[in-house]
Subunit: 70 residues, 12 copies
């Protein structure tokens, strides 16, 4: 990480399966337009609940860092 | 979420399996007495460890929001 | 937890599989040199991403508490 | 506030008009079932946006304190 | 704390004597209507002052956890 | 919010009138170039004061979330 | 803001009308004895409630910055 | 607390006896030059330790609010 | 504190009597193996409650600083 | 800062020399593609260490604000 | 720091050179009117940027503690 | 950082010169007894002031991470 400059953006991914999958969904989407993704930091874990008390979706917010220098 | 009023309560669920299951345990218990559960927010993730360093239980605290207006 | 004194240390475990496994890796390592591990608290969840946007490792920081009195 | 015991609950009120009105909506709803409401503390201010960038609803979370001793 | 679900509520107790007594006042009041109280966490310590700069009351806010499963 | 991925950006809007108007100014500006704006979260409320102690501008920072998946 | 030194003080203003008015009340009072007020930052928004659940007063705490160098 | 404006200052009191006494020391000192002290909020609790592990002093930082109008 | 280097560790002491005594218990234990203890900072105050709502133990977490240079 | 709207982005700059230089590296990189940079706020200061305990790089994360209205 | 009472005020110093110099500017200004300055704590580091992305000023906010008892 | 486990400790270094030098002092001291130091995170920046308002020492607290697995 010597001479580089990085940018961090904040994303929210969702998944019916797990926290890990919600993070992966967000990263997969981001990697379509951004190169040099390097790391992420989870900043919030939320979710929606249906009428029977079952988790419908996990919604995980994360900061994603990527290199912006050539 | 237009004209409604919501209440949030704080629960702690536990599970030997995973963070996700500890959250689901808390929501399943809450749904027995509360209607209109809508969303949750994880606020703390802890656990207990046995003498061999194995995780015994995940203990996850969450805020749960539900509609309180007719 | 009546008359005891506890110490907390901060560890970071990593895993290619899940948040739960990263925590277990850290606890397993700690239990080789420390006795009386009792509980943990997750304080940070991060990870590294490869060039295709896939999660390479989960890196989970946790505080671990253990009894230090005879 | 001498010898009393108070309980705080967390509510989220919504309004199309203003932050102040969202707080009042939550308090009006709460006062139907709770007596001795005394004070509130705003803890989060959010809202929803429509397709043209107009604010649809303000959603304000607040803690409300009320006396619970006879 | 194996398979249980816990609820946390937030109380404010007051006392002319000490921080410890303000916490005990809140717990004693809560125990009249709630069973299975287990632990508390102090979240805020405030107080009122009289015209001569003497502390009139300590006001201590705490979260109290209790088991809600049968 | 089922299978979607969202991005959050941070804006600061200003207004001579009110906190609400400063938020709306930021959202109106953002909606000119961004589609699918969904929600916002106020993160900071500041302002400037003139020589007579009158508020010149409200400056409100907010995070704005919008869907980034097709 | 080049070579200057600023001091920040913390005030709480109150108003029956709005959050904005509570801030202005505090600034108007401060401007009677302090010169060179420049900016403010809202740090807490609270209020009192009457027996019918109506907001009696908004109480807004703010930090106010002013230049202290000649 | 209707139409008033309050100022908060931050003090640190110390005591060899207790947290409560350290707060009272700070308030007693403040009351010699300030009128209308109303409330305080504890913001930090620290202390010094001697060579045998005995607490030498409690050092408690608190914000103190007092009315500045009229 | 001129040219020195300090280390901080985090301990949790418990006491049936008071917050102050729980801190002293932790410091007394630490001083048996560590030299040059200098200061502490309270970071969390919790406790356990018995079936009648009486406080069983205070559990106070603190950071303790000590000099590590010769 | 009257009628304008600002956007804040988060960058991480690195430098072998100093915290100040790491911030300047990030700003210099950002100014190549963004106009109207106005202010920054340092949010995190980290670094890497070599095998002899020497600092290899300072890594400073900052939020950078710039005007986005014409 | 035995029996003394301290007051903390919050200042913002600025410098074109460095974070350290901005702190020193604030302390030098404060020492002209306040005696017994003892310590400071940096609470915020910001700055302004010119059109070419060069740092114009560092603006560092700090709390300064000084003894107020005779 | 693939399969490794890391421990973080908290140190405070001091220097009459700069923030950077205080961090380096702490790391140099730590590297005498610990191997595999990897990164640090600054968590607090404080200092002492002499009677003329000059900074006597910078005191910087940092967390230092190092690998603990063979």
């Amino acid at each position: 990480m010597s001479d580089h400059v990085y940018k961090k953006i904040e994303l929210t991914g969702s998944s019916t399966k797990s926290i890990e999958d919600a993070v992966q969904q967000a990263l997969s989407k981001a990697s379509k337009t951004l190169h040099n993704l390097r790391w992420f930091e989870v900043v919030e874990t939320r979710g929606e609940v249906d009428e029977k008390g079952q988790i419908k979706h996990w919604q995980v917010s994360l900061k994603v860092g990527f290199r912006i220098d050539g």
